[in-house]
Amino acid sequence: MVEQNPNADSGNTGGNASPAAETSRSQPRATAGRRDRRFARRAKVCPFCEDKARIISYKQVDLLERFLTDRGSIRSRRKIGTCAKHQRRLATAIKRARHLALLPYTAEHIRTT
């Protein structure tokens, strides 16, 4: 018997939720991927930590632009898999490059150039 208990929200458990929480919903939620062990995400390694002694600099435009979305926004750490330290460095480098017009701020910049 599946219980529809709206108060049984364990969506913020962070790691793997208990199987009991899984059955308390009849519909998959946005976080279903986290609970569904079949699609367990592989460990994401920071592209800057692992082996790449690649320096993050506002001058490395070709390196930096890979971390922007098609609209010119900085990609989230979740998507890229960077570690906190490198994500911060990456973000400041991108912001500096934007100031110097080496990188765009918005999608419109990409379109009209």
Binding site: Y58, R98, H99, A101, Y105, T112
Partner: protein, 95 residues
């Protein structure tokens, strides 16, 4: 004395000579404030990611220099006045 990197974007309305003059003006300012210019990296003309003052291109010049910290403010004021300088960024490069 601290280590700095000056990233400058000059107006594409300058010709090659005008650019050299402007860069020399900047190095002169550095020397005037008892700084030493160590390296000048000129990327030349480059497309801007977005138009600045209606222009779509600019000259990119990077200068590494050692300067006293008091000089930084003066340099920035000068950059603000200079019309040829579209963008500037003064960075400290010692740890």
């Amino acid at each position: 004395m601290n280590q700095y990197e000056l990233a400058l974007v000059f107006s594409s309305e300058l010709d090659e000579e005008g650019l050299v003059e402007s860069v020399n003006k900047v190095t002169q300012w550095i020397n005037d404030h008892s700084g030493t210019v160590q390296n000048v990296d000129n990327w030349g003309r480059r497309k801007l990611a977005y138009p600045i003052r209606k222009l779509r291109e600019g000259y990119y010049v990077f200068i590494q220099a050692e300067m006293p910290p008091t000089a930084v403010k003066v340099m920035e004021e000068n950059f603000n006045i200079t019309e040829d300088v579209l963008r500037y960024l003064v960075l400290r490069t010692d740890e």
